[in-house]
């Protein structure tokens, strides 16, 4: 069993605190992504787990072993680097076997492992080539192969797909998912690409400025973002945000209003809370409905229509200047300068306190069921 437990991990470079107390509990066999914008500390966190960074404070456990102060080689981990880090003067076979042979493994065992990994990754015919003679995707496979032959308890992958072109990235993504399925090993994956994180992961750690902003399944992050940062970071185009204030509260029901609203929106919460006096109302672009100018909660003018075929992105400016994006189906006839009304379906609204924390959101039964799976 090799889950990964991180307690109060801190890392500072001089006066700059990069990781400000990270706590994580990753289960055995799980695929977990660290997701966040550049500079959020995700790579530093991964490198700390790998033992490539000295910690300022905190503890790391892999399985039932504390690895905080162990050298990288003794941690039972393998790492795949963003730029592959293949030894350019060694052929593929040597790249994969180099570490093993220096650690005194028997030649026939090394040969067996290399052959096996090469078969899994379909690089058998490349074993005698040098990295220079390989394509980006092949190099990536070799880098993964070098990790596999170590038979680690934990795989660490640092943006492994970001140097590949778009098409190859999709293919390798699927292969990584299949590999995880096949090996059943715990994998930690760093990425800034939310599509990779959402599609590959069992759970995603969203990092913001050196802190865990939210740790949950991809759909949890999407449907129940814990705060404004996650709400704005997950989903594309971004969630729309409107300033609002509560006009009335009746048990779980909150009526939300604002000068720019034509009429208030009634939102139902999942749990009773004290509703603060200032709120941010968030709504995803695909949930807003476009209608006649005075029919909706909001009125605005179309500034731009981006037609993507199956869907169109309609950019609307409210009369107070707030910019919103609405996803409509591809046949929506809206044009620039049209006056439109926008309807906010009550069950689609997210409410956030001034601290940025989300108020407990009541989901429709179908989504609720989906999150339980």
């Amino acid at each position: 069993m090799a889950g990964l437990r991180i307690e109060n991990l801190r890392k500072s470079f001089g006066a700059v605190d990069v990781l400000k107390g990270i706590d994580l509990d990753i289960r055995d066999g799980e695929f977990v992504s660290f997701l966040g914008p550049s500079g959020c500390g995700k790579s530093t966190l991964l490198r700390s787990i790998a033992g490539l960074e000295e910690l300022t404070d905190g503890a790391i456990h892999l399985g039932d072993r504390e690895i905080t102060d162990l050298p990288s080689a003794k941690r039972d981990i393998a790492m795949v680097f963003q730029n592959y880090a293949l030894y350019p003067h060694m052929n593929v076979r040597k790249n994969m076997s180099f570490g093993l042979s220096l650690n005194g493994m028997k030649a026939d065992e090394i040969e067996r492992r290399v052959t096996e990994a090469a078969e899994v990754l379909r690089i058998t015919e490349l074993l005698d080539r040098k990295p220079k003679q390989l394509s980006g995707g092949q190099r990536q496979r070799v880098a993964i192969g070098r990790a596999i032959v170590r038979k680690p308890k934990l795989f660490l992958l640092d943006e492994p797909l970001s140097n590949l072109d778009a098409g190859l990235r999709v293919t390798m993504r699927a292969e990584l998912a299949a590999l995880h399925e096949r090996l059943g090993v715990t994998m930690v994956y760093v990425t800034h690409d939310q599509v990779e994180a959402m599609t590959l992961s069992n759970r995603v750690v969203v990092l913001d400025k050196g802190k865990v902003s939210q740790f949950g399944s991809p759909l949890e992050l999407f449907h129940r973002p814990a705060n404004l940062f996650v709400a704005g970071f997950i989903g594309s185009p971004k969630m729309n945000f409107l300033t609002a204030r509560p006009a009335g509260q009746d048990g779980l029901g909150v009526t939300v209003s604002c000068p720019s609203f034509n009429r208030p929106v009634a939102v139902e919460l999942a749990a009773p809370v004290d509703v603060p006096g200032d709120l941010t109302l968030g709504i995803r672009p695909d949930q807003l409905k476009i209608g006649a100018p005075d029919a909706g909660h909001l009125t605005g003018t179309v500034r731009l229509v981006e037609r993507l075929g199956t869907e169109s992105h309609v950019h609307v400016a409210l009369d107070d200047g707030t910019a919103l994006v609405i996803i409509t189906d591809g046949t929506h006839p809206g044009r620039t300068h049209d006056r439109v009304g926008l309807t906010i379906p009550a069950e689609a609204a997210h409410l956030f306190a001034p601290t940025g924390q989300a108020l407990p959101r009541k989901l429709d039964p179908d989504t609720e069921r989906l999150l339980q799976i």
């Binding site: 790998a50 033992g51 490539l52 050298p71 990288s72 080689a73 003794k74 981990i77 393998a78 790492m79 680097f81 963003q82 730029n83 880090a85 030894y87 350019p88 003067h89 052929n91 180099f98 570490g99 093993l100 220096l102 650690n103 005698d128 080539r129 040098k130 220079k132 003679q133 070098r146 170590r150």
Partner: protein, 312 residues
């Protein structure tokens, strides 16, 4: 003519002008090469076939100078042997020491910039100044080296006056100029991606193996370059030996280049000196070619996948 059909046919004069212009632009280099490199080269070869005193009548003697050298001149062989011994000491030490210094500087310890400058400084000091400093260090009676050695109870030898130590003293003084190769190695070290070492750390490759299996192969082009330039400068060693020992004691540091120099400018036998220069040139050429051929076995070039790999 590969000109586009739309352009009017250039006049004869214009065409000739266009032919000369590029040559004019590179003429400074060409003239320099003709007068200062190719000319002297050919001239010295012609010289080597003559009995050619600086003053007096010249006489064509064919290959007589070369025959004398090989058969009747023991000093030629002695000087050559001294130079080979020197190269045998200097070349490996120069490479190993400048590599080690570069590795140390690359650790990015405090004060790296100061040390880098300090190590490079001797390379920009003029040879005469450098030799003067070393002659003080080596001096038998009030030399710094023997003074320091006396503290640990060693009665230092007469460095420059001893037949065994003379060549060692010259080697050490020559090594003082290793700043150039050190900088080349340092630049090479800094161009090795640090992920290679991190990947090695994660796979449990110990530091000594990282140096042998990652650093050395990645630096091999620089090692080859330093090897060849060191061999050349070792064979051409003149200044330090001339000023420090002037060939002594008992001709034990009478280098090949010094023998050439003295033959030409003290004994005024230009023909014989030219012939020896050509022999030195051939020795360096052959050594360099051997090293280049041997290098195919151990030099890894980043930019090029070798042909035999591609065929595999």
């Amino acid at each position: 003519m590969a000109t586009a059909p739309a352009t009017p046919r250039p006049s004869r004069r214009k065409a000739r002008g266009a032919g000369i212009t590029p040559w004019l632009f590179i003429s400074p280099w060409i003239l320099g090469f003709l007068f200062f490199t190719l000319g002297p080269l050919v001239f010295s070869f012609v010289m080597s076939l003559h009995d050619w005193p600086i003053v007096g009548t010249r006489e064509f003697i064919g290959l007589e100078n070369y025959r004398t050298m090989l058969q009747d001149d023991p000093q030629f062989w002695k000087s050559l042997w001294i130079t080979v011994k020197f190269a045998g000491l200097f070349v490996p030490l120069n490479i190993v020491l400048s590599f080690l210094l570069a590795v140390l500087l690359n650790l990015n310890l405090r004060g790296t910039a100061i040390y880098r400058t300090a190590f490079y400084l001797p390379s920009v000091i003029s040879g005469v100044a450098l030799v003067t400093i070393w002659s003080w260090i080596y001096s038998n009676e009030y030399g710094l080296l023997n003074y320091l050695l006396s503290f640990v109870g060693i009665d230092g030898p007469n460095w420059l006056g001893d037949r065994t130590w003379g060549i060692v003293a010259i080697t050490v003084a020559s090594l003082w100029g290793l700043g150039g190769s050190m900088l080349i190695f340092l630049a090479g070290l800094q161009s090795i991606p640090k992920e290679l070492y991190e990947a090695a750390r994660v796979s449990g490759v110990p530091p000594w193996a990282q140096i042998i299996y990652i650093t050395l192969p990645m630096l091999s082009p620089m090692i080859l370059f330093t090897l060849i330039t060191s061999i050349i400068s070792a064979f051409q060693q003149l200044t330090i030996a001339l000023l420090l020992t002037d060939g002594g004691p008992v001709n034990s540091t009478y280098f090949f280049a010094m023998y050439i120099y003295k033959t030409a400018f003290r004994f005024h036998d230009m023909g014989y000196a030219a012939a020896m220069s050509w022999v030195m040139f051939l020795i360096i050429l052959i050594l360099s070619m051997l090293v280049m051929r041997w290098s195919a076995a151990w030099v890894y070039y980043e930019g090029q996948a070798r042909k035999d790999d591609a065929d595999a």
